[in-house]
Amino acid sequence: MTDQRDLDRLLGAFFAEGTDELADRVLNAALEEIDKTPQRQPARVPWRFSTMNTFARVAAAAVLALVAVGATLYLVGLRQPPAVGSSPTPSASAPVASTTSSAVPSVAREFAYIVGDSRTGQQLWIANMDGTGAHELIPGLAQELNPGLGGNPQAPAWSSDGTRLVFTWAPSVGDDPVLGPMFGAARFYLTDASGKAPQLVDTGCVAPCVGDTDPAFSRDGTHLVFVRTKLVPPESSSPEPGSGKVNSDRDASYLATIDLASGRVTELPSTTVLDCPLFPGQHAPLIGNCGGFADHDPRWSPDGTQIVFTQDVPYDINGPASRDINGMPPPRPFPGASLFVVDADGQNLHQISPDVVKDTCCRSADWSPDGTQIVFERTTPPAPILNPGKGTGYTVVFIADVYTVRPDGTDLVRVTSDANSMDPSWSADGRIFVSSATGLWIMDADGSNATQLSPPPLLMAHWPISAPAAAMTADNLNP
């Protein structure tokens, strides 16, 4: 048996040997390359408050105060709803939702959102509630958090008082020749509306934990709820051909909470879902294209007693939504999703997706400010369409619209009907943010008074979330 002292001694000697110098030809080649390489200047936001001198701060504060007074007088005098946009189209039959702005005393000031996807790279942006003043919150964030390789911020969520913004950080670990872009263990960072230096939230994710995602604040700001992914051992010690069991690790995904003061993490095992088996020793699916079964988007109810979240579930193989255009079932377990509510202590897990949408996707759930309703994205039908000539490749055509439902699964209301509305979240004043291919929108809870926020760039904007907000939305698209 090798004790630690022996191992330390051996490793010390092992690493003492080796090359000591960088060859001049290598250094010179690097310097030649540098001569041809321009430096990347981080984008500057000259009007950011934290970068102003005292005079500029006073002047800016005065201007803001005047604007605020003017805006208040305007709103009090007119109460004019914004112009209705051309898309998304509100449902003609949608009844008026019961949530009103009177339920919430606070007024949202700004909202955060993500621009881009995991292939193009993602950025965290922020804008005023009318869409003006849009800018990247932390220029150079990717290189600051993971120099040389970068990564993607995802799923922003505000504390209820609007003073803190938490987001998931997925660090890139380079491209795999087969699997494409690869990401390391996801973790969380805290910042604020000024984009101050991101602060790591240490959730203690160590092996077999492989990542934490989708954080959201509790109403009092003392806790985060999030999704933890953990590697679990093989179902059996050896392969059993024909049994369906494999000798392989697999991911388990479940909800957990962290007390931000003590760092204590509480896991909620009742919410666990198992993913597809993985290649031994690698974090890649064993079965081609199988994967993606996980929990998503946990959101605390405004009273702090419950958590709503999305859990991937296998489709009913006999259901119409699981057939391709040729009427054939997909060759793999293709995840659907359903809404679940669980008590904050992990008890009383129950599915709330209404029967009418049981076999389709429900994602991105968010509580209304008064806790009486849940808004969500219904994606229907996510039938994989076979790509001729591309082997077993499938294109998944999503038709997404936004609905609201009561926490007990009743009173389903369609909010949009343009087949292209995603990532809904409730703003503090009782309106609903929606992301679509035409940009970000905000509308009343019944879909009326849709206003295009139009923060540039218009396309590929996701996860809009206001500050403060009664509840937050998060990563759900698996882009």
Binding site: P147, G174, C205
Partner: protein, 184 residues
């Protein structure tokens, strides 16, 4: 001195950066070679690191942390290099470490071979943690700060890396079972 040079380089002074590159190049090479166990791959990683460092230097907020930042870049470049190199575990040849390797009373040839085999089987992140611990002499908290990972993650990686290295040593010490069950 570094701080002044870093600030000049941040403003686009290539001569200042060249001095920094010469100052830190050898150390980067030592680290990369020990992580990747291959001089050619290590040279590629260092070259990549220096070019990225030049390109991204304006975004470095604290010039005093230049060396730590550079080492983090190097580790990331080594990870990327390792992924391009598809022979982490296959075709393991027991080679002496590139470069001079004089006699060392602390380690026998057998020990070195076992460690080499075990180390080459490790994923890049565990390799890096061993090099930072046993070559640079850093504690987990310092490594966590340098690599931008939680302290618990650094400790966990070190634990698993030690376990793997210990297993590699002890596996070779065990008798090999052959047909008939007789030890060889």
């Amino acid at each position: 001195m570094d701080r002044d040079l870093v600030e000049r380089a941040q403003r686009g002074d290539r001569d200042a950066f060249a001095i920094l590159a010469r100052t830190h190049g050898d150390r980067l090479m030592r680290i990369a070679q020990r992580i990747l166990r291959d001089v050619g791959r290590a040279e590629d990683a260092v070259q990549q690191t220096l070019v990225i460092a030049w390109r991204e230097l304006p975004s470095l907020r604290d010039p005093a942390r230049f060396e730590a930042w550079l080492q983090r870049l190097l580790v990331n470049a080594s990870y990327a290099e390792a992924r391009r190199w598809r022979s982490w575990s296959a075709n393991i040849r027991v080679l002496p470490v590139d470069g001079p390797a004089g006699p060392d009373e602390a380690m026998s040839v057998d020990d070195r071979d076992r460690l080499e085999r075990g180390f080459r089987r490790l994923p890049p992140d565990q390799r890096a943690i061993l090099v930072f611990t046993h070559y640079l002499g850093l504690a987990p908290a310092e490594i966590a700060d340098r690599l931008g990972i939680p302290v618990g993650t650094a400790r966990s990686r070190l634990h698993y890396a030690h376990r793997a290295m210990r297993a590699a040593i002890e596996a070779d010490e065990r008798p090999v079972a052959v047909a008939g069950g007789r030890p060889q």
